[in-house]
Every structure is written in structure tokens, then in C-alpha cells.
């Protein structure tokens, strides 16, 4: 079954063709990096306008790269839940039209479920049940994944997402945008022990996260040093900050996995591309007899392939969306059902 996956929930206009939920025939991503750098972040109206300009070209290129024609498409999957409403709307309008005009099934997907499936695409042997940490600029959650498409939320961020903290700290330190890659790079030459930043909620009994206080602590440290005319070792600040975020993410996810007695961990989302996060997870997982899985780097950030893979799974369960499919900017993943 050839599924066209469409993703426009934030700043990437993406489309992909995936065969049977496993084989990626093409995955095209048009980033809005030029606009993001200009505005220092995502501006919803600007992003929605760009999606409208690009969506058709991105879908056409996905078909061309896969060597397929429109008529070969068996179903259309689209991110319709969780994201910027004006952005979700463009992809969903395109998906509904393709589904209607080609007379093939349509399935609306929750954005976070897409990220969960990015790991299944990269690692078909990812076992169930497992604990999944999904972490990006828009969310940070720990989920217990009992089986395919069956999620239980264990913890989430009470304020900023981890990726959002990376973005804000990077912006404040003048390192640029997006924060993840620039901090990852700056931290390479820094000392992780140079600064003692807090590890918020690391010992809390639940699995929730909080990154707002850590972000403020980094910003205050920076301001104090500027006020005292001290030297500003940006790599050290970046490395110490990154270490604090990674420590919390690793510790809580491992704890969740041990509590639920699973043998496998899945780490997904944009932040899962972070090199320090991957290294520390690997070490901690081995120490605790767990196996950790990461998506390939190209599937960490938003893409259409993960949406197609999630859509395939939902379709196989007999779920369909109607042509009245609407977008929902914020809705819990556990509530996800394909029929609406």
C-alpha cells in the first residue's frame, strides 16, 4: 500500500511516499530556515503563507523522486492534530483534496504519533512494549507504548519543551537559530562541569519536566558575568546547559522504563538528533540492561514519511477520516482516534 504522507504542522512543508509503512520511496522537506533566521523563530502567519506556496511543489517532487504517478497513491495521511492551526490547515486542505480527487482513503494523524513512528521506520525491530521519550521544540513527553498505536502518557513538560529551552538559550547567547544544532556544536569544545545549572524535577516522583527555570538560570548566569565584566566562555555555558537538559531527560526516561519493566527505549523528535543526548542515553541504557533506539537523523525533525508510516498503521486497523476532517491545534495523544 502506497501512502502519501503530508506534514505542515509547524515550519516544514513536507511530503513523502512510503510503501507498506516501512519503505521510504521519497521524503521531501522544504524548510523555512531562511524565514526562521530572519525572524528568530516561527511566525505562524508567515509560515502558513509559505506552506500555501510550497505544498503542491513538495507533493509533486515526492511523487517524482519516488518514480510514481498520482494514480499510484493508495491512501493519504496528514498531520491534522497538534501544531499551529494556520499551518495544519494548509496540509490538511491539500490532503483532503488529494483524497477526494483520487478517490483514496484519508487518515488524519496526531503530530506526536508521527514522531513515534519515525523510530519504527528507522528500526523495524523496535519491540513492544517500550517507553518512548519524544522531545522537540513543541513537546517533551514520556509515553508507555504498550502496542502499536496504543499510548499511555507518563509525563510531560509543565512549561517549556526541551527544544524550546534550547532555542531560547541559543537566541539569548547570540548563537542563532535553531537552538538544538547550534548549542550541540558550541558545546563540543565546552566543559560540561564549568557551571552548575539546576536539573529541574530530576528527583520528582512523577515523570513531568520543567525547563523554564533552567533556561532562566542560564540567562541570569550570563547576565551576571556580563555585569561583572567576566570572560564569557560560550562553549562552557552551552555544554553545561546541554548537560543539565540531557541529565534530566535521561534520568527520568530510564526511571520510567525500569518502573514499567520494559526492555526497550525509543527516543524521538527533533532533540533526539542531539549528539550528547544520544551518547548519554546509550551509556545509561547499557548500564541498566536496556536497549535504546533512535531514528535516523533525517527522520528526527518533522517529515512526511513518519506521517505516512503512522497513517499506514491506522489504516491497517481499519480507521479512516472523513472528508470533513478538521484540524485541532492541541489535543492529547491518548485521545487519538482515526475516525474523526
Amino acid at each position: 500500500m502506497l501512502v502519501l504522507g503530508i506534514e505542515t504542522s509547524c515550519d516544514e512543508t513536507a511530503a513523502a511516499l512510503v510503501e507498506d509503512g516501512r519503505t521510504i520511496l521519497s521524503s521531501v522537506i522544504a524548510t523555512q530556515m531562511d524565514l526562521l533566521k530572519k525572524y528568530g523563530g516561527v511566525v505562524p502567519e508567515v509560515a502558513a503563507r509559505r506552506h500555501t506556496e510550497l505544498i503542491g511543489y513538495v507533493i509533486e517532487e515526492a511523487l517524482n523522486k519516488a518514480g510514481k504517478s498520482k494514480e499510484d497513491i493508495d491512501a493519504v495521511a496528514v498531520t491534522a492534530k497538534q501544531g499551529l492551526i494556520g499551518c495544519l490547515l494548509v496540509g490538511t486542505a491539500a490532503a483532503k483534496t488529494m483524497s477526494y480527487a483520487l478517490n483514496v482513503p484519508l487518515i488524519g494523524i496526531h503530530h506526536i504519533e508521527g514522531h513515534i513512528f519515525a523510530n519504527k521506520l528507522s528500526n523495524p525491530d523496535l519491540p513492544y512494549p517500550h517507553v518512548c521519550l519524544t522531545v522537540s521544540g513543541g513537546h517533551t513527553m514520556i509515553l508507555y507504548v504498550a502496542e502499536n498505536c496504543h499510548y499511555e502518557l507518563m509525563g510531560t513538560t509543565v512549561d517549556d519543551a526541551a527544544g524550546e529551552a534550547f532555542d531560547k538559550v541559543a537566541k539569548f547567547l547570540g548563537l542563532g537559530f535553531p537552538g538544538g544544532p547550534v548549542i550541540d556544536k558550541a558545546a563540543q569544545t565546552g566543559n560540561i562541569k564549568a557551571y552548575k545549572f539546576p536539573r529541574p524535577l530530576i528527583y520528582a516522583k512523577n515523570y513531568d519536566f520543567s525547563f523554564s527555570g533552567l533556561k532562566t538560570s542560564v540567562i541570569n548566569t550570563f547576565k551576571e558575568q556580563v555585569a561583572n565584566h567576566e570572560a564569557l566562555p560560550l562553549p562552557d555555558i552551552a555544554a553545561s546547559f546541554q548537560e543539565a537538559v540531557v541529565d534530566v531527560l535521561v534520568a527520568k526516561t530510564i526511571k520510567a522504563a525500569l518502573e514499567r519493566g520494559v526492555k526497550a527505549l525509543s527516543v524521538t523528535g527533533g532533540v533526539s538528533a542531539n549528539r550528547r543526548l544520544r551518547a548519554n542515553f546509550q551509556t545509561a541504557a547499557e548500564r541498566n540492561g536496556l536497549k535504546v533506539f533512535f531514528p535516523s537523523l533525517s527522520l528526527c525533525t518533522d517529515n512526511g514519511a513518519m506521517v505516512a508510516a503512522a497513517g499506514y498503521s491506522r489504516l491497517m486497523r481499519g480507521e479512516r477520516s472523513t472528508l470533513e476532517l478538521d484540524v485541532i491545534p492541541s489535543t492529547p495523544l491518548e485521545m487519538t482516534r482515526g475516525q474523526d
Partner: protein, 228 residues
């Protein structure tokens, strides 16, 4: 030639199918925040009502706006993907021109107005009828109703969903020696189809994938960026 036209620019969702001068089917529903929900169902309803299948439609027309930014993005995206998926041609049409077309019999100046979301912001354009069609005079207007009134110096027919309101307003300014009439109407999918048909019959069409809405106004962020 059977042409399907759609417009979602003005909190309305209008679809019409025409063949030559004949209206085969038309459906209009209000769409405050559910343009996306209803649009495909409305298209499907119109196609079936006309006794056709989507494959029998020879071309498409889509209202590019101006109007509700979210609304026009839905319409333009649906329009371009319909044309792409069916392989049929499409023409983008200014929604203001579609409104002016409702007054094509007028011997006077025609002024199309679409509300811009706030009381002091409107989108407008001036037209004059010429050989059964309408021809735009000058640029599009974006601004306050009072600013628009200053551009009107002769007899005029105001066209739009709130034409009566704007006609009253301009009358209240007591501009000497002019007569103001109004046609209260909405942008119709069938009118969009008719304007598109005229171009399609000449072999003229737009690049479907490149179609973009007629925003007429930059987003606040871009204006801020340019000022900086």
C-alpha cells in the same frame, strides 16, 4: 466547457459549476471557522447536483481573495490540488473582480468592497464595464472606508456583502453631485467559474502549483521586520 469555481474568501464557502452561460449547480454555506470542514463536501454536493463526476469537469476557477487570510488559504490550496490531482487547468480570479462582475450592467463606476476583519480596514477596487466584462481602474485599495470615499468623485455602484453599510457611510460624507447605489451580494463560486471560463476558453491558464492568495497586506511580523 464545464467549469467549477470556488471562493472561500469571505466567511462563506461558495461553489458553482457552469457550462457556457448555464448554471449547472451552486452551493453556498456560511463558514466562520469551518471552511476547511465543509469545502470538499460542498464541492462533492455541487458535482453530484450537476449530475457529473469530478472527472467530467473541464477546468477550475478559484477566488484568490482578498479576504480572510485563513479562508483564502483553504480555497487556494484546495483549488491548486484539485487542478493538480485531476490534471485539469485552473485560473485564479480576484474576488473583488468577481464582485464587480455582479454589476456588469452598470454605466457608472463600480466599487467592490470586502471587509478586512476590522471596522477600519477594507479591501476594495474600482471597475468599469467594458463590452460586457469589467475592467479594473487603478490599484487595489487597502485602508479605511473614509480613505476609499476620497477616491470616489462620480456616480458609483458599491458591490459587496456589506454594500448597504458602505453605501450609507459614503452617502453620510455628503460628497456633492454624486449618486450612490448598491448591490448587496457575496462572491459566488459560479461567478468565479464564469470569469475563469472566459480565460480558459482563450487557452489561458495559471500554473496550478504556483497559485498564491491575493493577501494585499503583509503579515504584521514582516512589516515589523521591514521597519527595523
Amino acid at each position: 466547457m464545464k467549469v467549477l469555481g470556488l471562493d472561500t474568501s469571505h466567511y462563506l464557502n461558495s461553489v458553482g459549476i457552469i457550462e457556457g452561460e448555464r448554471l449547472l449547480a451552486g452551493v453556498t454555506s456560511s463558514a466562520r471557522s469551518d471552511s476547511l470542514v465543509k469545502i470538499i463536501a460542498n464541492i462533492d454536493f455541487a458535482v453530484k447536483r450537476a449530475g457529473l463526476t469530478l472527472a467530467q469537469i473541464d477546468g477550475f476557477g478559484v477566488g484568490l481573495g482578498p479576504g480572510s487570510w485563513t479562508g483564502i488559504r483553504v480555497g487556494v490550496t484546495v483549488g491548486k490540488m484539485l487542478a493538480y490531482a485531476t490534471g485539469k487547468p485552473i485560473c485564479g480570479v480576484s474576488t473583488l473582480e468577481a464582485l464587480a462582475r455582479e454589476a456588469f450592467n452598470a454605466n457608472t463606476l463600480i466599487c467592490s468592497i470586502i471587509g478586512g476583519g476590522t471596522k477600519d480596514m477594507i479591501y476594495a477596487a474600482l471597475y468599469r464595464q467594458l463590452n460586457g466584462a469589467v475592467k479594473q481602474e487603478g490599484d487595489y485599495y487597502v485602508g479605511s472606508p473614509s480613505g476609499l470615499a476620497h477616491l470616489i468623485k462620480e456616480n458609483v455602484v458599491i458591490v459587496g456583502q456589506e454594500a448597504d453599510f458602505y453605501a450609507e457611510y459614503i452617502k453620510s460624507l455628503n460628497i456633492p453631485d454624486i449618486k450612490i447605489t448598491e448591490i448587496k451580494t457575496i462572491p459566488q463560486g459560479s461567478t468565479i467559474a464564469s470569469l475563469a471560463q472566459a480565460r480558459l476558453e482563450r487557452g489561458d491558464k495559471d500554473n496550478a502549483l504556483a497559485l498564491t492568495p491575493l493577501y494585499l497586506k503583509e503579515s504584521a511580523a514582516r512589516i515589523y521586520q521591514e521597519v527595523k
